[in-house]
Symmetry: C2
Subunit: 295 residues, 2 copies
């Protein structure tokens, strides 16, 4: 029942998000078509859209106009996709596949991929400004902008990636946690907090949402590690076993240990939704089924 409810929900929201992303991305025209194509390629590739869905689902709890949540969530997704393009570069993970297709720098070339990533980041800040036309206050737009820059900067994505790159294959648990709390969880938290800002959530509600999103983000990362350890490229659409010599949650806890950790994280995540009663149903479903994610 809950699974079907979530399935319908995700299907509907993904369709909305794809349409909105398509609108937001620059058309492929004029002399600069190449970089525009690369921007579109890096985004419109069947991603799960988990982050903007989190924004949408949180915004719903607080009765936010869906168009506002859509635009804000798309800004987050543009940043996420920009970071994936960089992660895959030869000087970083040197990945061949992303979401079942050639990585952006292999479909185009390295310089185009870098410029596309830059362009997506830039477009994200532009898109947040568009919220004014959708009835979001200047104060809220400012808050969203500050949240996004914090999630991107050296205390967020960029900080996580630099430590990931410079870490030895074998690292201690503190480093592993640092990397994920910066590379994954920071933008995850921002996605959820976006919904709170749009919904003018009070301090206690906002804290509850963040307490929900934080373990969820970590569980999501651990699920990724499990998929990497257990899957094939055909199944998950990106290079696998790349982590084979690298420290991950799976190498720390083993397959069963990682699964157990995940169950506990999701339990704690769902417990934080108590204050919202039935309004938290979709967020609860998202948590529960993140465990059964296969791709």
């Amino acid at each position: 029942m809950a699974r079907r409810r979530l399935g319908t929900y995700l299907h509907a929201k993904r369709a909305l998000l794809e349409r909105e992303l398509d609108r937001i991305l620059p058309p492929m025209e004029g002399r600069t078509e190449k970089v525009q194509s690369a921007m579109r390629y890096g985004v419109l590739n069947g991603g799960k859209r988990l982050r903007p869905i989190l924004t949408l689902a949180v915004a719903e709890i607080f009765g936010v106009d869906e168009r506002q949540a859509l635009v804000s969530g798309c800004a987050i997704e543009l940043v996420h996709c920009a970071s994936l393009i960089l992660d895959d570069l030869p000087s970083m993970d040197d990945a061949q596949l992303r979401r079942g297709r050639k990585a952006c720098h292999r479909e185009f070339d390295e310089s185009t991929a870098i410029l596309a990533s830059f362009g997506l980041l830039n477009r994200a800040f532009q898109v947040l400004q568009e919220l004014k036309g959708k009835g979001v206050s200047q104060k809220a737009i400012r808050e969203l902008t500050l949240l996004l820059t914090a999630a991107i900067g050296t205390d967020g994505l960029i900080g996580g990636q630099i430590i990931d790159l410079e870490s030895e294959k074998s690292m201690d648990y503190a480093t592993l946690e640092f990397i994920h709390s910066h590379k994954t969880i920071a933008l995850f938290l921002a996605s959820a907090e976006f919904g709170c800002v749009l919904g003018r959530a009070g301090g206690r509600d906002r804290a509850a949402i963040l307490q929900y999103a934080k373990p969820l983000g970590l569980a999501f990362q651990i699920q990724d590690d499990l998929l990497d350890a257990l899957s094939t490229p055909e199944k998950i659409g990106k290079d696998v076993n790349r982590d084979v010599e690298k420290t991950t949650f799976v190498s720390f806890c083993g397959i069963e240990g990682a699964r157990q950790l995940n169950r506990e994280l999701i339990q704690s995540s769902i417990a934080s939704l108590a204050p919202f009663g039935k309004r938290g149903a979709i967020l609860e479903d998202i948590g529960r089924f993140s465990l059964s994610r296969r791709s």
Copy 2:
């Protein structure tokens, strides 16, 4: 006389800008020190700071609080430096030297340089939000943000760079002009317009300032081409003769022709300052002496 006046002015403003940039850049501390060092390295390297000086000088005409102009100008400079880091990458110009020192990716490594560039772009948007604490209205911050994103995007820096990279060594005049109007002039114009926004300049004043800045930006680029053709790396602190097989304004017009074109551009630039009378003196000096620039 005018030369001495300008020299004193530039000296004083550069000192202010260096201090402000130093404040704005993240300190080198904690685990992510490497990327923070690279961000600082890419900015605090003796740049001419022409763009933020343009912001300061235009803002002065309209009686803007200097602290507002400083912060705004620094946001522009961060974006400019971010774009230089990318331009120098192996997949782009593969440059060895920048401002007399190793290019960022050679002092650090490629992935760190890319992340530093990303970090600088992100920091620029954060810095614009800081203007609220300095008395700039939300409306003006929004306008600055939109101007900056437009100058960075596919109609600005990114668009110019993609065409520059994909152009044959030999190109037609229209392509050459497209590249410079996007790669150089777009951010130049934004720098000048920043001063207008902060000063709430009227439409006619703003148009005059843009008419001043546009030919100045082009003249600046042509002067760069002349320097490349005539100088040594020791003198100008970056690789030279890289353009030797590439189409530039010098290859189109020859040395004398490029100098003549420059004189005409600066003449037209200065003529646009007529409405400001004596208040335009510094802008006039900047135009006049851009021609004698040697480094």
